[in-house]
Amino acid sequence: MMSLASYLIISLILFVVGIVVMIARKNIVAILLGIELILNAAALNFVAYSRYVTNNLDGHIFSLFIIVIAAAEAAVGLAIVIRFFQIKETIHIDEATQLRN
């Protein structure tokens, strides 16, 4: 039961759910949640491959850096959301159609 395929399926489900969250939600923070899910699905794939396919830990390192980058992404993304809210007083994604102001 615990095989590469099961991990891949779980990560695939996560990925698809992340995509649906990104598309269905209109709240920017919720879209960031979807991005986190997608990133985690990718990281899970790396670790699963690292155990089941390759013989080294490069997959672990990669998922470690994915986590690092996800944290940086969340920090900057949320900062942008907050700034956006201060300007527009909403965090509706459809308001974010202009590149300035």
Partner: protein, 735 residues
């Protein structure tokens, strides 16, 4: 004499460290850290001298070399597809060059501490100067074209900064921009050549390129319809042309006078401009293989002659020197082209010494008199005796007077050129190369002595605001009022660098025998050290080359690659040179060049000291005008290339955009839209109404729904599109 990282790295690293410290802490150091920069160059000099000593006086075989590498980065574990090695490659030529660069740079630094004293840009100047020097040293040390290119670009940036150091002056800014942009043209080609070599060989190490040439890997390879070797050689030489300011990319160098004079000395004498010659020499086997030596020779000859003609009418002392630099660089390139490998490199070294000295002397004059227009100078011999002495020695050298260094090297190039043009059975049109070369030699003697006579002899005109343009004797009775000119005293920082450099203008340093043979032969001797040590790379010996790890002590046999016999080798492409003809060519060339040089000096003497011959400017106003306009290259570039060409292209594109695209495509779309709109209206009126109100409502709603979602221009929509494109990609390609 074992080389590890510790004995090589300080050459390059100590100026870098000085740069870093000066860049960040320079303002807080006493004297803004100029002593630190000077000291760092001195350290480089010490280490370079050690290497030089080992190579010249040591027990190395004459073709011994050190090649140490380390892996810079390796992005591929298994297949070494993207692996970049860095390393050092030291042979005799590198050793000589290192000593020259670090020595001259040290003297220039020392001089600069005097020259830039109390200057507002003092600190900044001493930030860039060591970086510049370190880049040149790194360029000389590097063993591959890639790291060479890196240092090449660092130098480009530094020269940009040094030329434009007085950034409040608009002209300085323009000049720096010009230097940067013009050299960029060449750099693009150099990078292109490097990338082409990389793609072809998988490495840009000198030794790998040599080995590839020896193994005949280039045979039969073509790119864009021309031979691959020709293509890469041409690209690399175009890069060298940009850096060494060869025709037609020479326009930046005269304008580079805007910077402080010691900076000019460093750029024009020791470092930057010689980088192009250096890479030509390093890639000489490739040039030969690519059969572009005739092109190199012609470019060099044209530059040498053209710059010399322009120099005869310049009035700015630094401009004269700048054009003379151009001319001498032309000689070097010409030397490379005519197969005079040894002499071209020798001219590089000798020129570095006397041109640095000339520039420093000019700096000394300018700093003492605060004037650089020659018509406003004159009679400075009494006030600046040391400067006069140094400058006269250098002028003698550059003019090609016997027993001076310039004669030794230039004569040899001219002799080879003579052979190349007339006797080697080449295309007869190439006879233009020696003709232009000899003409330029005469002009060199003329304009250099013109400069000397106008500056140091005759009446002192420094107080006279109305310079008379040409240096004949003006109104009598003007005793020198040079009360603002102080007699120079022997100052360690002002004069001693000049005098040290002046010592090295003597010819016997370069054509003597430092390797133990007889001391007497001054020229023509075949065993002189320079000829023994410097020779064109023999590519065959690099076929099974082994490199060493950077940190490992050099444990190879010191004499493992010994040539049984040295013969005078010109190494140009074609059949073996006829020794007899060559010798006679050299003899003729030596006699001719001595004669021409003295003729030039004599003419200058007649014009500017005796005054018996009026300067010919009034006689040939058209030619003078052309020369004063520098053949109109600047105007050509600005008016034709940039204004007409580039802006014209812009206008054409704009016309296409507005005239065709806007008119037909956009308006056409509007028209189509109108038609659609009308048809939709018709459809609405006729069909939809006929079908019924409810149906219309539903249909329009649905249509709107789809359309609005698709046309929202929202982030999520793009995301959906991304996913869809990905999916379609996967499905269509059926991965």
């Amino acid at each position: 004499m074992e080389y590890t990282v510790g004995s090589i790295a300080p050459i390059f690293l100590s100026p870098v460290i000085a740069f870093v410290i000066n860049a960040f802490l320079g303002r807080k150091l006493p004297r803004q850290g100029d002593w630190l920069a000077t000291l760092s160059i001195f350290i480089s000099f010490i280490y370079s001298a050690r290497i030089f000593g080992d190579f010249v006086f040591g027990n190395f075989a004459t073709d011994f070399f050190i090649h140490k590498t380390f892996t810079w980065f390796d992005l591929n574990h298994a297949a070494t597809i993207f692996k970049v090695d860095m390393g050092v490659y030291i042979d005799n030529m590198t050793a000589i060059m290192l000593l020259m660069v670090s020595g001259v740079a040290f003297l220039i630094h020392l001089f600069s501490t005097w020259y830039m004293d109390h200057d507002e840009k003092h600190g900044r100047f001493f930030v860039f100067l060591p970086l510049f020097t370190s880049a040149m040293l790194g360029l000389v040390l590097s063993d591959n074209l890639f790291s060479l290119f890196i240092f090449w670009e660092i130098m480009g940036f530094c020269s940009y900064s040094l030329i434009g150091i007085y950034n409040q002056k608009e002209k300085a800014g323009d000049a720096s921009l010009k230097a940067f942009m013009t050299t960029r043209v060449g750099d693009v080609f150099l990078l292109l050549g490097i990338v082409a070599l990389w793609m072809f060989l998988g490495s840009v190490n000198y030794v790998d390129i040599y080995a590839a040439i020896a193994e005949g890997k280039f045979a039969g390879q073509t790119v864009l319809g021309i031979s691959f070797a020709t293509f890469t050689a041409l690209c690399i030489f175009l890069g060298a042309m940009g850096k060494s300011a060869q025709f037609p990319l020479h326009v930046w160098l005269p304008d580079a006078m805007m910077g402080p004079t010691p900076g000019s000395a460093l750029i024009h004498a020791a470092t930057m401009v010689t980088a192009g010659v250096w890479v030509s020499l390093r890639m000489y086997p490739l040039m030969v293989l690519g059969d572009i030596t005739w092109f190199i020779a012609v470019v060099g000859a044209i530059t040498a002659f053209g710059a010399a003609t322009v120099a005869t009418v310049q009035t700015d002392i630094k401009a004269v020197l700048a054009y003379s630099t151009l001319s001498q660089l032309g000689y070097m390139i010409m030397g490379v082209g005519v197969g005079s490998y040894n002499a071209a490199f020798m001219h590089l070294i000798t020129h570095a010494c006397f041109k640095a000295c000339l520039f420093l002397s000019a700096g000394s004059i300018i700093h003492s008199v605060h004037e650089q227009e020659m018509p406003k100078l004159g009679g400075l011999r009494k006030y600046l005796p040391y400067t006069h002495f140094a400058m006269m020695a250098c002028t003698l050298a550059i003019a090609g007077i016997p027993f001076f260094s310039g004669f030794v090297s230039k004569d040899r190039i001219l002799g080879d050129a003579l052979y190349y043009g007339f006797m080697s059975g080449q295309n007869p049109l190439l006879a233009i190369v020696p003709i232009l070369g000899f003409a330029a030699a005469g002009l060199t003697a003329f304009y250099m002595f013109r400069m000397m006579f106008l500056t140091f002899y005759g009446e002192n005109r420094t107080h006279d605001n109305h310079g008379h343009g040409h240096g004949h004797k003006d109104a009598h009775g003007h005793e020198a009022h040079g009360h603002e000119i102080h007699h120079e005293h022997l100052d360690v920082r002002q004069n001693v660098p000049l005098l040290i450099l002046a010592v090295f203008t003597l010819g016997f340093w370069f054509c003597g025998t430092l390797t133990g043979q007889s001391f007497g032969k001054v020229f023509g001797a075949k065993t002189e050290w320079f000829k023994v040590l410097v020779e064109a790379p023999v590519v065959e010996k690099f076929v099974d080359h082994k490199r060493e790890d950077f940190s490992r002590v050099d444990t190879r046999e010191k004499t493992h690659l010994e040539h049984a016999h040295y013969h005078h080798q010109t190494g140009y492409a074609g059949p073996n040179p006829d020794e007899h003809k060559l010798h006679s060519a050299h003899t003729i060339g030596a006699i001719a060049s001595i004669f021409i040089a003295f003729a030039g000096v004599f003419l200058a003497f007649l014009m500017y000291i005796k005054g018996s011959v009026k300067p010919w400017a009034s006689k040939f106003p058209g030619i003078t005008k052309t020369l004063e306009n520098k053949y109109g290259f600047d105007e050509f570039y600005i008016d034709i290339l940039i204004k007409k060409g580039l802006l014209g292209l812009n206008r054409g594109l704009a016309w296409i955009d507005m005239g065709i695209y806007d008119r037909y495509v956009v308006d056409g779309m509007a028209f189509v839209n109108r038609v659609l709109y009308k048809s939709a209206k018709w459809f609405d009126n006729v069909v939809v109404d006929a079908i019924g109100v409810d149906g219309t409502g539903v249909a329009v709603n649905l249509f709107n729904l789809v359309l609005r979602i698709v046309q929202s221009g929202k982030i999520q929509f793009y995301f959906i599109m991304l996913i869809m494109v990905l999916a379609s990609y996967v499905w269509t390609l059926n991965i």
